[in-house]
């Protein structure tokens, strides 16, 4: 117990010293809003399994910050993004959110992708009375006073998707999803909708996140022979799913799928050949018409490369920054409560069209769009709700959803 232990004691001592000094050394600096710049937090997974989706959202948010800075910033001050890595780990999200708030003193945070990361961060923002802008479509049933939701809630994406299927005369639907909260909640909603609208759910399959073997699920699809498949698979699993689907000879003509987590980025990874002809439900596509979107797409390609695509979550992240900046300008400060108050009713012309913040629940009005995947990897709009739909995270406006929340 001599040398080894003694050495380890030195180690302990050193570590303790290091920890303490390190922590003290990097302890709170000056507040984010003081000086010439305003600090804003950007918190996404840059490593781990979720990096695949979140890195580009970060890029879009940074692009929006750059654009705002190019036009003189907010309240005459430049925005200074503080980028943190959530590392695909939910407590890390909470930890980094806390760090951004209490150490960097950021004015607001843009971040998160998975529901789990949002649920992890929610108490941190509520406790600190700080602001989070969450840019991804999600399962609804939430309305935190300290979160702004710039992605779709269920009545802006899933319900329109179902409306579309009903319109197309699809009677039987098979549900395929990754095993986590969004697909499970979405499928609950779908089942309630189906029961009220004379549709039959002929199967429901969940696979672990990151699952890459879909032969069996596809075999079950072949046995059930549904009119359509509602796909809530997440991320990488989609690639394996569509490759299996095509391998088994299932085409969009015989059995179309509606996907709610497959955007332009994912299409490239799946291989356009494998998914062309299938449907997706979002609020924005790279092909969405309008000068604002043309400018956004052009700016994005100019900044990150001509081969890059834009997608709904990226656009929602971009929107979040723009909406916050507008609210801060309107409030004349970056303080949380005035910004929240000013945000209500703000309407901006953004790539997906006019986006208005709903003061009631801090979600935004969004136009639902059903798209058809093209062989070139782009998505063509085949149906739209026409006007932006009022967000209804608890589906209070739908009778059939009465028992859900």
């Amino acid at each position: 117990m001599s040398r080894g232990l003694r050495g380890s004691l030195v180690a302990v001592g050193l570590v303790a010293a290091l920890t303490t000094t390190g922590c003290v050394g990097s302890a709170p600096s000056e507040a984010g809003a003081s000086g010439d710049t305003i600090k804003v937090g950007v918190l996404h997974s840059l490593s781990g399994t979720m990096a695949i989706s979140e890195v580009t959202v970060r890029d879009a948010e940074l692009l929006a910050i750059e654009e705002i800075n190019a036009k003189g910033g907010v309240l005459g001050k430049k925005l200074e993004p503080v980028v943190e890595d959530g590392a695909s780990d939910w407590p890390t999200f909470a930890e980094k959110a806390q760090k951004l708030i209490s150490q960097d003193k950021v004015a607001t945070v843009f971040g998160g992708w998975t529901s789990a990361s949002r649920k992890a961060m929610l108490p941190v923002f509520e406790r600190n009375k700080a602001l989070l802008w969450y840019p991804v479509q999600y399962e609804g049933l939430e309305s935190s006073p300290y979160i702004f939701y710039t992605g779709a809630t269920t009545n802006q994406q899933i319900v329109p998707g179902l409306d579309y299927l009903k319109e197309q005369g699809k009677k039987s639907v098979f549900l395929v999803g990754s095993d986590y909260v969004f697909p499970r909640t979405a499928n609950k909603i779908i089942k309630a909708y189906a029961a009220a609208n004379g549709m039959e759910i002929v199967g429901e399959e969940y696979t672990p996140l990151g699952h890459t073997e879909y032969s069996t699920v596809v075999n079950k699809l072949q046995q059930a022979k549904p009119d359509a498949v509602f796909n809530t698979l997440n991320g990488d699993s989609n690639v394996a799913f569509f490759k299996s689907l095509r391998g088994a000879g299932i085409t969009a003509e015989t059995m179309p799928t509606v996907s709610v987590s497959v955007a332009e980025e994912e299409v490239a990874g799946i291989g356009p050949d494998n998914i062309a002809g299938h449907l997706v439900a979002w609020n924005y596509y790279q092909t969405t018409t309008g000068a604002t979107n043309d400018a956004f797409v052009a700016a994005f390609k100019a900044t990150y490369g001509a081969n890059k695509v834009t997608s709904d979550p990226m656009e929602a992240g971009y929107n979040a920054v723009k909406l916050w900046a507008a609210a801060a300008e309107k409030a004349g400060t970056v303080e949380v409560e005035p910004v929240k108050a000013a945000a209500k009713g703000i309407a901006l012309d953004l790539p997906e069209g006019t986006v208005t913040i709903d003061g009631e629940n801090q979600h935004v009005f969004k136009t639902a769009r059903i798209g058809l995947v093209q062989p070139d990897g782009q998505i063509k709009e085949v149906w739209s709700s026409g006007a932006p739909i009022k967000p209804d995270p608890y589906l209070k406006g739908y009778d059939w959803a009465a028992g859900l929340s």
Partner: protein, 281 residues
């Protein structure tokens, strides 16, 4: 029909498992290197296929690229760790992190698409060509390896070293060369498997992490360094997994497979096949 389909699916899952585990039977099974970076060698193969956009051409190229990378790894790091298998685990975990992040920085975080050749799309009687291709590829690899190990001089040396290193060394076998070759082949096979994976799954920086645990389980169930064992374990577990999944769901199937392996190791603690050793440990 559904059952027949499922049987085929099981076999094809077995083929995938076999392919990803083959390389590991060399590096882990024969050399005792717990190579956590094995998944990233799959990744190298997959990105090779992406760069070439030609699966058939990619097979030999991926073998060469992944093999070369394996050789570099062996020369630079792993050779200092023989006889310390548990340390190789942490070492290669570090390597795996670095390779993953490299892939992320070079090719971007999102998945990339690999276009399968026209003759591999579609299928016959519900059996996808891509799956048949993988099945054939897996069997071809096994055949090639066993021919190599039994018929070729280098292969026989490899077996000799594996069975008794010291005796092989004093019999004039350059064991160091054999080690390099073993690692090269093991990594190269992972590269080949990576190419095959592009036909059925995602190609992104996390690819390796999806397969690594399964690969280790196959090698353990089959018996360390046992080609026969790996083949049988892969197909049995593939079929088992596919049927359990068919009757229940994918999550449960994974848990059941794990339980079966633990139970099986109760009967045969050393896996299906055992290489006798006289060492007292």
């Amino acid at each position: 029909m559904a059952v027949l389909n499922q049987l085929f699916i099981g076999a094809s899952m077995g083929a995938v498992l076999l392919l990803i585990a083959l390389g590991l039977t060399f590096t882990f099974g024969q050399m005792g290197v717990i190579n956590m970076a094995h998944g990233e060698f799959l990744l190298v193969g997959a990105y090779t296929a992406y760069l070439l956009q030609n699966v058939v051409l990619a097979l030999p190229v991926a073998f060469a690229v992944a093999g070369a990378l394996g050789l570099v790894l062996e020369r630079l790091l792993i050779r200092r760790f023989y006889g310390r298998p548990l340390d190789t685990l942490l070492l290669t975990f570090g390597v795996s992190l670095i390779l993953q992040q490299l892939a992320r920085d070079i090719f971007g975080a999102p998945n990339v698409g690999v276009t399968a050749p026209a003759w591999l799309t579609g299928g016959i009687g519900g059996f996808p060509y891509s799956r048949i291709f993988i099945l054939v590829l897996a069997l071809a690899c096994v055949a090639a390896i066993s021919l190599y190990l039994t018929r070729m001089k280098q292969g026989r040396r490899m077996r000799a070293v594996m069975q008794n290193r010291q005796l092989a060394a004093v019999s004039g076998v350059a064991t160091e060369r054999v080690d390099q070759l073993t690692f090269l082949i093991g990594s190269g096979l992972a590269g080949v498997a990576g190419v095959a994976l592009t036909l059925i799954g995602p190609v992104g920086p996390s690819l390796g992490t999806y397969y690594i645990v399964d690969a280790f389980l196959i090698v353990v169930a089959g018996g360390l360094g046992q080609l026969r064992g790996a083949v049988i374990a892969a197909f049995v577990l593939g079929v088992l997994n596919s049927f359990v999944e068919f009757w229940t769901d994918a999550s449960l199937a994974k848990v059941v497979v794990f339980a079966v392996i633990v139970a099986f190791l109760q009967l045969r603690p050393q896996g299906l096949f055992v290489l006798r050793s006289r060492a007292l440990t």
